[in-house]
C-alpha cells in the first residue's frame, strides 16, 4: 500500500509536464534509436521474420553506422559543400517565389478583369502536380542549381500568390474607406493598406513556403544533379548504401527543423501587430 503510494509519488514527479518536456522528448528520440538498434543489429534478434541475420540491417540500416556517417560528414567536412548548395537553392527559391507571388498576387487581386480572365488557368496550374515539372526544368535550365530553384519557385509561388490574393480581398472595407478619407492616393492605398494586409497572410504561410522551397531543392537534386544533399542520397541509393540514405534523411530533417525555427523567429519579429492568444505575463 505504502509502496504503491510512494511509486505514485515518484511518477507524478517525473511524468511528462511543462518543466521536463525537453527531457522526455530527448528520451523518446533515444528510445527510438535504441529500438532501431536492437531490431537491426545482426544476430541479436532471433530470426522471426528475416531468415538471414543481415537482412534487417540491409533494409533498415543500422543507427550506429548512420550516426557514424553523419559524424564523418561533418567532422571530415564532406557534407558542407552539398549542404551549402541545397540551402542556397532553398533560399533562392524562397525569395524568388515569394517576391513573384507577391507582385503577381497584388496585381491580379487589384485587377478584377485580369483575375477573372486568368482564373481557370491559375486553378489549373495550382492543381497540377508540379513536381512533375522537374525533368522539364532539367532540360530547360540544365543540371545545375537553376533547375532546382525553378522547381522550388513553382511550389512557393502558388502558396504566396493565393495568400496575397486572399489578403487583398480580406482587407476590411472600413479600414480601406478610412484610409481613402484620410487622403490616401491610389499608390498610398497600395503601400499602406493592401501590402501590409497581404503581408500578414504571407507571413502566416512562411512555414509552408520555406518548407516547400526546401522540398523543391531536394527533390530537384534527387532527380538529377551533381551536388547537394539530394544528390548524396541518390548516389547512396545507387549502391544500396542504406545507411548513407538514412544519414542524408537525418541531416535534411535536422535542417528543415532549423529553417522552421528561423522562420518562427522572423515571424515573431514581423508580426508584432497581430494579436496572439494569451499575451499576459506571469508574475
Amino acid at each position: 500500500m505504502r509502496e504503491q503510494e510512494s511509486s505514485k509519488g515518484l511518477w507524478s514527479k517525473i511524468r511528462p509536464q511543462q518543466g521536463n518536456l525537453r527531457l522526455w522528448q530527448v528520451g523518446m528520440l533515444a528510445a527510438f534509436f535504441a529500438i532501431w538498434h536492437v531490431l537491426t543489429v545482426p544476430g541479436l534478434m532471433p530470426p522471426v521474420y528475416f531468415d538471414d541475420a543481415n537482412k534487417a540491417a540491409f533494409f533498415f540500416g543500422e543507427p550506429l553506422k548512420v550516426l557514424g556517417r553523419v559524424w564523418d560528414w561533418f567532422y571530415l567536412g564532406a557534407i558542407y559543400e552539398h549542404l551549402w548548395v541545397t540551402l542556397w537553392e532553398t533560399f533562392l527559391a524562397f525569395v524568388i517565389g515569394t517576391v513573384s507571388g507577391l507582385v503577381i498576387g497584388l496585381w491580379l487581386a487589384l485587377n478584377p478583369v485580369a483575375s477573372a480572365l486568368c482564373d481557370p488557368y491559375i486553378k489549373a496550374l495550382n492543381s497540377m502536380p508540379r513536381v512533375i515539372l522537374a525533368p522539364i526544368f532539367s532540360v530547360w535550365f540544365g543540371l545545375d542549381i537553376a533547375s532546382k530553384v525553378a522547381l522550388g519557385v513553382t511550389l512557393v509561388f502558388f502558396i504566396v500568390f493565393f495568400n496575397v490574393y486572399q489578403g487583398v480581398r480580406e482587407v476590411s472595407p472600413t479600414v480601406l474607406a478610412n484610409a481613402r478619407i484620410l487622403g490616401a492616393s491610389q499608390r498610398q492605398l497600395l503601400r499602406h493598406v493592401y501590402v501590409p494586409s497581404a503581408m500578414s497572410w504571407v507571413f502566416a504561410s512562411l512555414h509552408n513556403s520555406v518548407g516547400l522551397a526546401f522540398v523543391g531543392a531536394v527533390v530537384g537534386e534527387y532527380l538529377g544533379s551533381s551536388r547537394g544533399v539530394g544528390y548524396l542520397i541518390l548516389q547512396a541509393e545507387g549502391t544500396f548504401d542504406i545507411n548513407t540514405v538514412f544519414a542524408g534523411i537525418l541531416v535534411l530533417t535536422a535542417f528543415a527543423l532549423v529553417l522552421d525555427y528561423i522562420v518562427g523567429l522572423a515571424e515573431k519579429r514581423l508580426m508584432v501587430w497581430q494579436p496572439r492568444q494569451g499575451e499576459t505575463e506571469r508574475i
Partner: protein, 272 residues
C-alpha cells in the same frame, strides 16, 4: 449670397435605394427625400431608431456612397467623389491594425507629404489631447475599445477637417468614460469650431452636446421628422446639464416625437 449663410454641408432631397446583389428586383429604400443642412461651426446631432439609415446618410455626406437621387453640397459646391473637407469617425473599427497608435494618428499627414518629424510632433500632441500620452507605441489590439476610439478621434482631428462626421463614436463606452469623452469633445470643439454631424441613438447624449437635434423616422424611407434647437447655455458639462429643468423639458418634448418611430422601428426588425 453671403458666405456665412452657405451651409457647410447640405444634403438636399436625398434618396438612397439599395438593390440586393443577388436579386435585382428586391430593393430597399433606406432613405427617402431627406434634407439636412449644417451651418459652419454648428454641432448637429442626428438621432433615430436602429437600422433607420443614419450611417447611410453619413456615408452619403462623405462621398463613400452616391445617392440614388438628390444632391450633396459642401460649402455650396456639389460633391464629386470623396468629401475632402470632411473627417469621418466610423461606427466600426477603422484603425490600421499594423500601425501603432502613433502611426495611425500620423497617417493622414503622411499621405499629405508632411515630414516624419513634424507629423510625429503633432501626433504626440494630439495623443496627449485625447488622453493617450505615452500609449503611442501600442498596436490597436493592445488598446481598449475606448482607447481605440480616442486614437480614431485624434487620427481624424489632426487633419483639422472643416466638417466632422461622427457615427456613434461613444456608444461602446461605459457611462463614465463616455461622459468624460463627451466633455473632451465639447472642449476640443469649442476651441476650434467646426461643423459637426454627430450620430447617436442616445437622446440624452444628443441634447447635451448639440446646437440642434434632428430626429429621423424609422425605416424604410427614413427622413427627418423633427428638428429641435437646443438653447442650453455653453460651456456645458454633459453630466450636470442633464439635471437642469430646461434639459428635461427638451428631452420630454423630443422623446414624445421619437417614441412612435422607435416603436415602429422595433416592430419592423422583430417581424424580420
Amino acid at each position: 449670397m453671403d458666405s456665412r449663410d452657405t451651409p457647410a454641408l447640405a444634403l438636399e432631397n436625398i434618396t438612397v435605394t439599395f438593390a440586393a446583389r443577388d436579386a435585382k428586383d428586391t430593393r430597399y429604400t433606406a432613405v427617402q427625400d431627406a434634407t439636412l443642412l449644417v451651418a459652419p461651426g454648428e454641432f448637429v446631432s442626428v438621432v433615430g431608431p436602429t437600422g433607420c439609415g443614419k450611417s447611410t446618410l453619413l456615408n452619403i455626406a462623405v462621398g463613400l456612397l452616391e445617392p440614388s437621387a438628390g444632391t450633396v453640397k459642401v460649402f455650396g459646391e456639389p460633391l464629386a467623389g470623396l468629401n475632402r473637407n470632411a473627417g469621418y469617425l466610423f461606427q466600426t473599427e477603422a484603425l490600421m491594425p499594423w500601425r501603432t497608435a502613433l502611426d495611425n494618428v500620423t497617417v493622414g499627414l503622411e499621405f499629405r507629404g508632411v515630414t516624419r518629424e513634424e507629423s510625429v510632433i503633432r501626433a504626440e500632441d494630439w495623443l496627449a489631447r485625447v488622453g493617450l500620452a505615452g500609449h503611442g507605441h501600442r498596436y490597436p489590439h493592445q488598446l481598449s475599445g475606448g482607447m481605440r476610439k480616442r486614437v480614431a478621434l485624434a487620427q481624424t482631428l489632426i487633419l483639422d477637417p472643416q466638417i466632422i462626421l461622427m457615427d456613434e463614436p461613444f456608444s461602446a463606452l461605459d457611462i463614465q468614460t463616455r461622459q468624460m469623452m463627451e466633455n473632451e469633445l465639447l472642449e476640443l470643439w469649442s476651441a476650434n469650431r467646426k461643423s459637426v454631424v454627430f450620430i447617436t441613438h442616445d437622446l440624452e447624449e444628443a441634447i447635451s452636446l448639440s446646437d440642434r437635434v434632428v430626429v429621423l423616422s424609422a425605416g424604410p424611407g427614413t427622413r427627418p421628422i423633427g428638428e429641435f434647437t437646443i438653447d442650453l447655455p455653453r460651456p456645458r458639462d454633459v453630466a450636470e446639464i442633464r439635471l437642469t429643468p430646461r434639459f428635461i423639458e427638451l428631452h420630454t418634448k423630443i422623446w414624445r416625437a421619437m417614441k412612435d418611430e422607435v416603436l415602429k422601428g422595433y416592430a419592423r426588425t422583430r417581424i424580420q
